[in-house]
Symmetry: C2
Subunit: 371 residues, 2 copies
């Protein structure tokens, strides 16, 4: 990318009303950020970010010594690229190779028991000894033990652990983990999709969790009540077609609800690193290529629907789509099957137009409702 | 059955060298115990028990007020009848209807934690409240809590719980459970396959466990280390094609190994009675009919092998079987497939002859080795 394209990439990304998925759809359709910005100018409601905002964002990252990874880059983490809402940009402090290692996520409750923290440290160290890189969120409790255990390994590969922050990579949160933060930079990486200077806020945590699971072959939840935020990471991992692992606990322990529920729903019960490696040891990054809806439908140029409507009028298709939807979410797959006389590209283009016109919304990945 | 047939049934059962499975095969081939005894007289190594021994066994059971159930009886427990080594006779104190109820087994370690015993009592009571009968082994620890919890239910059906003893039904073991024993007789049943007066011995416990699982739609293991005897019951349940359930526990607890291992190997993780009922609630006894090898091959009179060897000579077949076997166990199913030109009945008859001649042995159910 040229410098102008990088600036436009960030301008488009920080525009009001443009989420990550829409960003990727627009780039896929209009080929590059500059063309997309030109196109969006005809929609007054999308406020394209100023050049100065984008310049400032990139400059401050460079000044801090960050590696900046755009989702179109060759060296952008392959596994993360497979998720439909992959961050369009990543800021990395430390060793960017840690993001493309054999990553495994370990997360759990902040209010963790001593036993669970002990188990986490052992599990994490054993995984790094076996050549894996541990991804977590640097929160108190299990996350902290996951990073600490990884750092305790004797492995000298410089990619022991990755901390994904919800604020900017310059923002040490919680502040009590200051020493841990610096040790992670020396032995792995700190990463965030947010601009330098962003304060961590409660509403940013769930989004952050999709990056933790998205970077990793699998995610282990060590301890979690039924209300724990780490269950969000487990849900992301499942939606991303990644392996989910959970440590069991006795049912009368209030912190057992979440992990036991995960095992009931199909997560693999684990007691040690061997249990994890026996499942993910045989996986390669190719195991996850093109599994997501986004890649599947945009890259699949051969339509398997035999009879296409040749007298195509996008307005008619948009009307038809609106007549099929209501406020109950419907999957894109269902809609495509229903509209079998149109090509997938025609349907996806019509959906993009409807989204830009604010007539439909995506309450969750791959689900559509009328607005 | 006539009185003479009953006496012969017990004589055959208590003969030296005749196990439960061979007993059933002989009865299936020679139609009744009296014919079988006549046939066996030509083999001096099988010492048929004296008439007086059988008379004494039946008399002492009647004197104690036992219900005596023979495996050919209509009212013999249907689920138990489906296992290949179903006890040929059962002695019952209390309500025999408890054996044919909606049975569910709950077992676990003798050296159980307070938490596990509490959970067992709640689980057991809730199951009886929901109309189930709890089967266990009256051992200390989890078994005792299983019976106690069942008895705590307000259900007045008189079949709350069944205790399967390894010694005779007159033998209260452990003696500290004397009060529990009498309460079980009033609200359910005590059952054993052993003659009245038999002392419980360590070597009888594993055999007893097959009856606990065999009587039940499923078996839950509440707490068990990797060396716990209750894992034997779980193995029986699996071999008997019954559902296996286990309560999870934190890996650092030494008593967690067995139940966590079961869940890893496919047992259903449970936290409460609802978790169990959601799996077995839809099952009826018909779900288990004719699942076992024994019934499948003896009752299936229509051979599906098109070309049978019509010039049949059993000696030739026996020689052929011996040439196919060695000291590594081979399944009967494999052998039958290999000998496709013979009917199943011909093969099974030849196997029975070889077994009686001491030329082959069955190291486990359905597996054959050469002796």
């Amino acid at each position: 990318m040229t410098d102008k394209e990088k600036i436009d990439w960030i301008r488009l990304l920080r525009s009001e009303g443009i989420g990550q998925i829409t960003f990727h759809k627009l780039i896929a359709k209009y080929q590059n950020p500059s063309n997309t910005i030109e196109f969006l100018k005809s929609f007054p409601k999308y406020k394209i970010a100023d050049v100065s905002v984008a310049e400032k964002e990139l400059e401050s990252a460079e000044k801090l010594g960050c590696t900046i990874l755009f989702s179109c880059d060759e060296n952008y983490p392959f596994l993360l690229k497979q998720i439909p809402d992959a961050p369009a940009v990543l800021y990395v402090l430390g060793n960017p190779d840690a993001l493309t290692a054999k990553n495994f996520a370990i997360v759990g409750s902040r209010n963790a028991s001593i036993n669970s923290r002990t188990l986490t440290e052992v599990l994490s160290r054993d995984m790094v000894d076996a050549g894996y890189t541990i991804v977590s969120g640097m929160a108190l409790g299990i996350d902290t033990s996951a990073h600490t255990g990884a750092l305790n390994s004797d492995n000298l590969n410089g990619k022991k652990t990755v901390a994904v922050l919800s604020g900017g990579v310059d923002n040490i949160y919680p502040s009590s983990n200051k020493k841990l933060y610096h040790t992670i930079i020396e032995n792995g990486a700190i990463v965030s999709e947010m601009p330098i200077g962003t304060q961590p806020q409660a509403n940013l945590f769930p989004r952050r969790n999709r990056i933790i699971s998205g970077l990793s072959y699998g995610t282990a939840i060590i301890e979690a009540s039924l209300k724990s935020g780490s269950l969000i990471t487990a849900r992301f991992a499942m939606e991303q077609n990644r392996e989910v692992f959970a440590v069991p606990n006795f049912p009368l322990d209030p912190r057992a609800g979440g992990t036991n529920m995960l095992i009931k729903n199909g997560a693999t019960l684990i007691e040690n690193a061997t249990d994890i490696i026996s499942v993910i040891g045989g996986l390669s990054k190719d195991s996850f290529a093109k599994n997501d809806l986004f890649n599947r439908i945009y890259e699949d140029t051969i339509s398997y629907f035999p009879k296409l409507n040749t007298e195509f009028n996008e307005q008619d298709l948009q009307d038809k789509i609106l007549s099929l939807l209501n406020s109950t979410p419907v999957s894109i797959d269902c809609l495509i099957r229903e509209l079998f006389e149109f090509s997938q590209t025609q349907i996806l283009d019509a959906l993009l137009s409807l989204e830009l016109d604010d007539k439909i919304a995506y309450p969750s990945v791959g689900k559509i409702i009328i607005k």
